[in-house]
Amino acid sequence: MPPREKYQNRIELLQGTLDMLILQTLQWGPQHGYGIGNAIRANSGELLQVETGSLYPALHRLERQGWVKSDWKQTEAGQRAKIYRLTPAGRKQLLSERDRWSQLVGAISGVLNPSKGEA
């Protein structure tokens, strides 16, 4: 069963980053799963495709950790949807993940461009 393998690998690869992207997206306001996926794609200039098979496990995981909360609500289009919103704990988590991310980016660029580092 190859597809299953693939999903599992991708979740593993994206895990930390995807969680951060979801939390970041929810910072602009409560949103349903479909909307979150679309927003990430749009904001990344269509570069990041979030698979549904990763998105929902991630959302449920975040909810279990208490970083997001969900309610069934009516959308503007008049459709019932499960809307996720950021909790205060989630906000804190977002900040710490962003910190870690910029450290990681700094570190990686340091490695990639050694000339700019300590001379």
């Binding site: 299953r4 599992q8 799963g33 909307g35 549904t52 098979g53 929902y56 449920h60 499960k82």
Partner: protein, 872 residues
């Protein structure tokens, strides 16, 4: 969020969420101009595999293992139902293994280690002294000094067991009672059920004569505890007023031997007399029991009592002579009994463990066989994507369900067995009242069934893993060499079982041989046809010895007149029932050199009535009664002190008697204490010179039945004095039997274990061979078709079985040779490496193995080649 048990709700929630996602995506596509149908299928494609998304999301819910275990449990129950025969065998193996062993262990533990019915018994200590190398209690004065001077006890009490004649109620009776200090009930932490205990003033003579009685006593004589309070009873001809009734569970002192007299039924004030307090080292009659202060260790207590003992020696050198080497020590209450019974308990526990182990191995074997049959199923599931871990968990849940079900049934079986056995009269002599199932044994049994399930569940998998799914799927089930690894593992288990059975067989063979040896030990007397009647002539009733002697002679004469009575004799102590130790000094040797000897006071007819041979000299005669003190010693004593063989005529000093005792005869050795203990030096004194008030009449019948003699004798004794208490009539043989009860019990239990182990091992061997024959049906069929001799197939199969049994036998014999020394303390008359026991165990195992192998071997020889070849 939903709690984990609302999984279905959460599942619905996820469905809805995903379908709302689809709706939104479809609408989005429609908004971009796609038509309804294609927009929907587009959205569906984008979403991907719905089932996998759900699966991945479910994992993120956590607690997935819970879900899976429940699933596995359902699966396990379903598969149990599918194979009712297999399940029944597996569950009942476990049930019998756990049930019988838990029950027996509880009984053994209760028989050997009944818990003391006191508050916090772990802090109760007894104090003993060693004087001249002998363990003794304390004298009254010493008791008071220890109580006053020691600093480690919260409370301490003294007591002395005594027997009393209870008169004025119905027939005169003998009751066992205890003189106790007022602190006793407080020290033990047990309060009277009704009324109250004693006051400190009653510790010394002159206090009120009161009694605290047992619940059973109050019930027997006064109907109920409340109505006993305030009543007066007559003990040794004196009135005592009952002030308290102890609870039914209270027994003090707890009996040391299972074959001793009934537990005490009353407690009286200590009432130390002046005489008693004056004589510091004459007798050590007062037992000391103390409750340790919290946080004080046994070692601290030991140091403290030793300090007090040294103080005595410093302050009173004239009493505590240096060469007496007096020391004091403490030990936990019951330690002495526990130490004596420990070897038997350890042995039986080992037996329990072995039987359980064999039952578990058998079950493992059974499960392995089934795993072999199910290997293709497992392989198929692996190929379909089940992970190894998941399969392992499932296999374990399946076997654990089986074993735990067996374990639970076993526990209820044990419960029934224990309850039933308390009602068995045969066990009454050995088992204390109100036994319950041992909690620890029960827990152990359940944990073990759990562990067995886990191990047995994994074992077959390891075989499957080694092979890999491809290979398992490849075989069509026709190949004759199928499941070789599994067979090897199963064969190893059978070897192991056989080895364990050999251990148990040898252990029980040794115990049986010891028992036979004990039975064959000449007790030194002939119990056959002898009836005994116990009575007592207390000093209140018979203040002068001469009056007692006269009554005793009169009773002897009347008993002699009973038709069918050949001989009547009188003694104070009976062999194998009660013993007394006295200290003496040999005349003409160092007067400070004390020696110890067992003692009984008997009349002239005693030796011939019990057929104890007189080796030298003569027995007591009527004229001795008014003469100088005379004594008869046993052969051991004569040999030890007068090796030249000239004991007769020699003298020794005993007690306060200023006149030395002259030895007039040497009698054969008699086992006074126990059949399996070497006789000690023994001194017989003339009953008609003795101050002892206990009297046992010994009647040797010429032909009449013993039971009838007892009733007759009782009547005749009362015809001389209707006030005399007759508290036991029994055959001498029953007294001998009682002294062997514990040994017989241990032997029977271990032998039962051995039989159980042997049958389990035989079943295991049978199972493996039968399975192999079934597996090889086709091969055997081909060989028969090609002209093989059925007899040679039969022999080959039997040989295969015997090889396994033989290997187990060798291992078992080796292990036994290493282990038997551990049980040497339980053996009598046999060496641990007894060739006969080892040979017997070997023979029994081989015969059992032969029987187990015969059935599959016959089946192998009777295979119909046509049918075997056609069936595939």
């Amino acid at each position: 969020m939903f709690p984990w048990w609302r999984r279905d709700q959460r599942e619905r929630d996820l469905d809805e969420e995903l379908s709302s996602h689809l709706d939104m995506a479809a609408r989005n596509h429609e908004e971009r101009g796609e038509e309804h149908g294609s927009a929907r299928s587009h959205a569906r494609r984008e979403l991907g595999n719905l089932g996998l998304i759900k699966e991945a999301t479910r994992v993120s819910w956590g607690g997935i293992w819970r879900e899976r275990i429940l699933q596995d449990l359902r699966y396990a129950l379903r598969s149990m139902r599918r194979n009712p025969g297999f399940s029944a065998v597996a569950v009942s193996t476990m049930m019998l293994g756990i049930g019988s062993t838990t029950a027996v262990f509880s009984l053994v533990k209760a028989a050997l280690f009944s818990p003391e019915p006191y508050r916090d018994p772990g802090r109760l200590l007894v104090l003993k002294q060693i004087v001249l190398g002998d363990r003794v209690n304390t004298s009254a004065a010493e008791f008071l000094d220890f109580q006053r001077r020691s600093r480690v006890f919260e409370d301490a009490a003294g007591y002395e067991s005594e027997e009393f004649d209870l008169t004025g109620t119905r027939e005169p009776e003998r009751v066992s009672g205890v003189r106790v200090t007022s602190s006793l009930f407080r020290t033990l932490g047990v309060a009277p059920l009704a009324g109250h205990g004693f006051s400190a003033a009653q510790d010394f003579a002159g206090g009120a004569r009161e009694a605290v009685v047992s619940e059973a006593f109050a019930r027997t004589y006064f109907g109920n505890p409340q109505s006993a309070i305030g009543r007066t009873i007559r003990l040794n001809e004196r009135g005592y007023q009952i002030t308290g009734v102890m609870p039914a569970a209270f027994v003090f002192p707890a009996s040391k031997k299972s074959n001793e007299q009934p537990p005490p039924s009353l407690w009286l004030p200590m009432a130390f007399s002046k005489d008693e307090l004056g004589d510091r080292a004459a007798s050590y009659d007062i037992s000391f029991i103390g409750r340790l202060k919290r946080g004080v260790s046994l070692a601290d207590a030991q140091r403290d009592v030793m300090r007090v003992s040294r103080e005595f020696q410093r302050e009173m050198p004239e009493v505590y002579r240096g060469d007496w080497n007096t020391r004091a020590f403490v030990e936990p209450l019951g330690a002495e009994v526990a130490a004596r019974r420990k070897p038997a308990l350890i042995l039986l526990s080992a037996g329990v463990a072995l039987v359980l182990l064999i039952a578990c191995v058998n079950l493992c074997n059974l499960l392995l066989a089934r795993a072999g049959a199910r290997e293709r199923e497992m392989a198929a599931r692996t190929a379909l994507g089940a992970s190894a871990g998941r399969l392992a968990v499932q296999a374990i849940v399946e076997t654990v369900t089986l074993t735990v079900a067996g374990g639970l049934l076993g526990c209820s079986l044990a419960w029934t067995a224990v309850t039933a056995s308390t009602k068995l009269a045969a066990l009454e002599a050995i088992l204390p009242a109100n036994i319950t199932l041992d909690g620890k044994a029960l827990l152990f049994g359940l944990l073990l069934s759990l562990a067995t399930g886990m191990v047995c569940g994994l074992a077959p998998l390891s075989v499957a893993w080694q092979r890999g799914p491809g290979e398992s799927l490849k075989w069509s089930g026709r190949t004759a060499t199928a499941a070789r690894e599994s067979n090897r593992l199963r064969s190893m288990l059978v070897v192991f079982e056989a080895a364990l059975s050999v251990l148990l067989l040898i252990g029980s063979a040794l115990l049986i041989r010891s028992f036979v040896a004990v039975l064959a030990t000449p007790p030194g007397f002939d119990a056959h046809g002898v009836t005994i009647v116990r009575t007592s002539f207390n000093r209140q009733r018979y203040p002068e010895a001469q009056r007692r002697y006269a009554a005793q002679r009169e009773i002897v004469n009347r008993l002699q007149a009973i038709p069918g009575v050949a001989q009547v004799a009188l003694t104070t102590h009976l062999p194998l029932a009660d013993s007394r130790t006295i200290g003496f000094v040999v005349k003409g040797r160092d007067p400070n050199e004390y020696h110890w000897a067992d003692n009984a006071n008997v009349d002239g007819a005693y030796f011939s009535a019990l057929r104890i041979p007189l080796q030298q000299g003569r027995t007591f005669r009527e004229s001795d009664a008014n003469g100088l003190p005379v004594a008869i010693v046993n052969a051991t004593m004569a040999r030890q002190f007068w090796p030249a063989g000239d004991a007769v005529g020699k003298q020794f000093l005993w007690g306060g008697n200023s006149n030395p005792f002259t030895i007039i005869g040497v009698a054969g050795d008699v086992h006074l204490e126990a059949l399996d203990l070497t006789p000690k030096p023994t001194i017989y004194m003339d009953a008609y010179q003795s101050r002892q008030t206990d009297a046992v009449f010994v009647l040797r019948a010429s032909h009449t039945e013993a039971a009838k003699l007892g009733a007759e004798a009782r009547k005749l004794i009362w015809s001389v004095d209707p006030g005399l208490p007759v508290f036991e009539t029994a055959s001498m043989q029953s007294i001998v039997d009682r002294s062997l009860a514990a040994r017989r019990f241990t032997m029977f239990v271990l032998a039962a274990f051995a039989v159980l182990a042997l049958s389990l091992a035989a079943i295991g061997l049978y199972g493996v061979l039968a399975y192999m024959v079934v597996q090889r049906t086709r091969e055997l069929g081909v060989r028969l078709a090609l002209g093989a001799d059925p007899i040679s197939l039969l022999i080959a199969t039997v040989a295969g079985g015997m090889r396994l049994a033989g290997l187990g036998l060798v291992l078992g014999l080796g292990a036994a040779a290493l282990l038997v020394n551990g049980m040497s303390r339980l053996l009598f008359g046999v060496r641990p490496l007894d060739p006969a026991s080892f040979a017997a165990a070997t023979a029994v195992l081989l015969v059992a193995a032969l029987c187990a192998a015969a059935i599959p071997a016959l089946r192998a020889a009777h295979i119909d080649p046509i049918a075997a070849l056609r069936c595939e």
